[in-house]
């Protein structure tokens, strides 16, 4: 079995407002995994990602994480004063990557999300989905060991989303990235994940943790194969249970 | 030549004429001095620069400041008084019921901060002026002109001229000195250590200045006026002429003891009398060693008396 990259031990999170966002959570993410978090709105998925990234301190428990992390926030979180190109190349600039390589990798990332023509546009001149794609390009450009993605494709049309799903899988294979991925689309979760954690709300906790057999992906009609739809139903059921679990 | 700097207490004007004269006609140079005159201004405190040793001499407005120096242990000493009479005046509107000095306490009084804590305290004590009547004077006479029932402080050499020219009436002028105010004015002050270390320098500066004053009052003062106007382009020839005439007419510089002892004269008797006035006005405690505020070592020698036209 591959090495553990992220580990949470007995982690809880209580916000200053008193909201118990996470009850004790134990979680290990291993190298090469693509773990998808599914759960009702407000169950603590974003909180969990922020804890993994170290952007939030656990109220109790301990977290281990690798050094290089890329993060696609739930909101695009772009610098309004910088154009698309500058926003995308930010992680490289922060790592003092030389200008030439920076340009190359930035343009690569822009191409991936189909935004080359908008390199000089400012965020407020972009549509919601385009902003989110900038954010995705920014996370990919630094080729991190661990990639945390919080509903990255929610604002993108189905066609573009399917394409980005496949691009993500290809990149993951190429760069040997480990990914933790939040989505509300069970279809997407099933299509991407090597493992799915289902969460329940109030207090947030993991109620199911299932490995996904991805053999169906090799079929030419992966998205309509019976195996795919069967897995979808199973995970949907778990999610429905989790939603009921909430008070 | 010894480099010497001298700070005045206002923008260059005829009241500083003697010093500019000595500079302009080479008297200072003749006495081995290379003098720089630093003009003062409405909110400039050149005395502090003197105390701090940044300049060598300054022009004191009156003896009250000198007494204060003693009270505060500041080693500043008055070494000469160019004016025998303080040019401080009060003005009132003519024919408005304030034509006599005794009418003035009834009027609203525009008085500056400096005068308020000094001569006005004496006026209060001696003539019954009241602090409640006072409004501030910021060297702009418009409020006084606008209010017929008001009086305003001034210098005999300046304000009456400005008012006559701009407002078109001749105000009544009451020279405080003529009503018993004993302060010397336009003194030369320096630090005690300079007197101790280099009395000759002090003597030369005082005497050259005195000679400057004689020339300014009675001789050709064109070059001095040109210097004054260079420092303060706002002042007009007319204004200067008026001021010089007023200096002469009221005997501001050359009267009383100065007639015999020469311009710059100071006497123990007058100091004593003035100090008594100030004690009565509650400005000083009677036990103050006021004699430390001045020295007579450099004046009263009759320097320049011969320059006065007969």
């Amino acid at each position: 079995m591959s090495e553990a990259l992220v580990a949470l031990q007995d982690v809880t999170k209580i916000y200053p407002s008193g909201t118990r966002a996470l009850d004790p959570v134990d979680l290990v993410v291993r190298e090469g995994e693509l773990l998808t978090l599914l759960g009702p709105s407000g169950c603590g998925k974003s909180t969990l990602l922020r804890l993994i990234a170290g952007l939030e301190r656990p109220s109790s428990g301990a977290v281990w994480r690798p050094g290089e992390i890329g993060f696609v926030f739930q909101e695009a979180t772009l610098m309004p004063w910088a154009d698309v190109a500058a926003n995308v190349s930010l992680p490289l600039r922060l790592q003092n990557v030389p200008e030439g390589e920076l340009r190359r990798r930035r343009d690569e990332a822009l191409a991936l999300v189909g935004l080359e023509p908008f390199a000089k546009a400012f965020p407020r001149e972009l549509s919601g989905g385009m902003r989110m794609r900038v954010s995705i390009a920014r996370a990919l450009v630094s080729r991190p060991k661990l990639l945390l993605m919080d509903e990255p494709f929610a604002a993108i049309d189905e066609i573009g989303r399917f394409r980005l799903n496949d691009d993500l899988l290809r990149l993951k294979a190429e760069l040997a990235t480990t990914i933790v991925f939040v989505t509300h689309s069970v279809y997407e979760a099933v299509y991407l994940a090597t493992r799915i954690a289902v969460m329940a709300a109030r207090p947030g906790r993991i109620v199911a943790d299932v490995a996904i057999d991805q053999s169906f992906r090799r079929a030419p009609d992966a998205r309509t194969s019976a195996a795919y739809l069967e897995t979808y139903s199973r995970v949907s059921g778990l999610l429905a249970q989790a939603a009921e679990a909430a008070p | 030549l010894d480099k010497v700097s001298f700070g005045t207490n206002w923008r260059a004007e005829a009241e500083h004429g003697g010093f500019y004269q000595a500079l302009a006609d080479g008297t200072y140079a003749k006495y081995g001095l290379d003098v720089t005159i630093l003009q003062g201004g409405p909110q400039i405190n050149n005395r502090l620069l003197l105390a701090a040793g940044r300049i060598d001499f300054d022009m004191g407005a009156n003896m009250i400041q000198a007494f204060d120096s003693v009270a505060q242990n500041v080693p500043i000493v008055a070494v000469a008084s160019m004016f025998q009479k303080d040019p401080f005046i009060l003005m009132s509107h003519p024919n408005a019921g304030y034509d006599h000095f005794t009418d003035l306490p009834r009027a609203t009084a525009f008085v500056g901060n400096d005068a308020f804590v000094t001569v006005y305290q004496w006026l209060k004590q001696t003539y019954g002026f009241s602090e409640d009547k006072v409004k501030i004077y910021t060297f702009n006479s418009a409020p006084f002109i606008a209010d017929k029932n008001s009086i305003q402080q001034g210098y005999v050499t300046s304000e009456p001229y400005a008012i006559a020219h701009q407002a078109g009436f001749k105000p009544n002028v009451f020279l405080a000195a003529d009503f018993g105010y004993q302060s010397y004015s336009t003194t030369i002050e320096t630090r005690r250590d300079l007197i101790d270390k280099n009395p000759d320098l002090v003597r030369r500066f005082v005497e050259a200045s005195i000679i400057g004053w004689y020339h300014y009052l009675y001789g050709d003062n064109a070059k001095a006026n040109a210097l004054i106007r260079a420092d303060n382009p706002d002042i007009t020839e007319d204004q200067l002429a008026y001021s010089i005439a007023a200096l002469r007419k009221y005997g501001i510089a050359d009267s009383g003891d100065a007639l015999k002892l020469g311009i710059g004269a100071m006497t123990d008797a007058r100091m004593k009398a003035f100090f008594a006035q100030m004690v009565a006005a509650k400005l000083f405690k009677p036990d103050l060693d006021y004699k430390r505020a001045y020295t007579l070592a450099f004046v009263d020698h009759g320097v320049g008396v011969g320059l006065r036209p007969k």
Binding site: - | L48, A51, S69, Q72, N73, N113, F116, K135, A146
Partner: protein, 258 residues
């Protein structure tokens, strides 16, 4: 506990500053009429309290009145500007003129038409109002575009938009202006006292400072300056606390305790 810990740096800095000051004065033998040591200022403060405290009271009253007037005036004008942009274009230049006109020049004119008390208040007002006006105007224009659209959509009236949207959005800017204006009101009160005067008694701190300077009673001048400084800090701190309290729920800058 936390508040205590936060007070450590300023208190330390302050003590350090005073110690260095005292040491320099003593080592260089600087006479008190040039730069009095803190110890002497302290004793003067105590010795002259009968003179200084009433003066402080006078200055403080003018300051607070001036600040109140400036806040009211600045906010009111900012609101008018925000409601009718042509008003801003037409009258902002006048506001700038009022800001830059030296008090010493207009005080005599004010004295012709107003009582000294009014003139003083006007001067203090003039000095303090501009930052409040400028910052509030900026703040009122800084409401997020989407929220503005929302209000347009729901047919909000001018005034509803003002109270429910622009005003809350302007608060952080307003408070920044107020903190600047607080200090300026104090300066304004001092300048006003010197140029427009307070009737009769004339016993504000400004007058004490000038008188002390004029009479070379430098320790007393510094004692009075100390009171001015403390007043300034107190006003700033009070406004900072107010600002934090008003913004703590939502603005980034108030995320930490002040």
């Amino acid at each position: 506990m936390k508040a205590l810990r936060r007070a450590v740096p300023p208190v330390l800095a302050f003590i350090g500053f005073l110690v260095v000051w005292e040491a320099i004065v003593r080592a260089a033998n600087i006479p008190p009429y040039i730069l009095p040591p803190p110890s002497l200022i302290g004793t003067t403060l105590v010795a002259d309290r009968a003179i200084l405290l009433p003066a402080l009271w006078v200055t403080l009253t003018i300051t607070l009145e001036g600040l109140a007037a400036a806040t009211l005036g600045g906010v009111l004008i900012a609101i008018l500007f925000a409601q009718w942009r042509w008003l801003e274009r037409a009258f902002l230049p006048f506001a700038v003129i009022l800001q830059v006109t030296p008090i010493i020049a207009i005080a005599p004119l004010l004295l012709i038409y107003c009582t000294p008390a009014t003139a003083v208040l006007l001067c203090a007002f003039l000095v303090a109002f501009f930052p409040i006006l400028a910052n509030t105007t900026l703040g009122l224009a800084s409401a997020e575009r989407n929220l503005r659209d929302l209000f347009t959509l729901y047919g909000a009236s001018r005034w509803q938009t003002l109270w429910l949207l622009k005003a809350p959005a302007a608060l952080p800017f307003f408070f920044a202006g107020l903190r600047i204006g607080g200090g300026l009101a104090l300066i304004g009160a001092i300048a006003a006292e010197l140029t427009a005067g307070t009737q009769g008694g004339r016993t504000g701190l400004a007058f004490r400072i000038v008188e002390a300077g004029y009479r070379l009673n430098i320790p007393r001048m510094f004692a009075a300056l100390t009171l001015v400084a403390l007043t300034g800090i107190a006003i700033y701190a009070a406004l900072a606390v107010l600002s934090h309290w008003a913004l703590r729920h939502w603005h980034e800058s108030a995320a930490e305790t002040p």
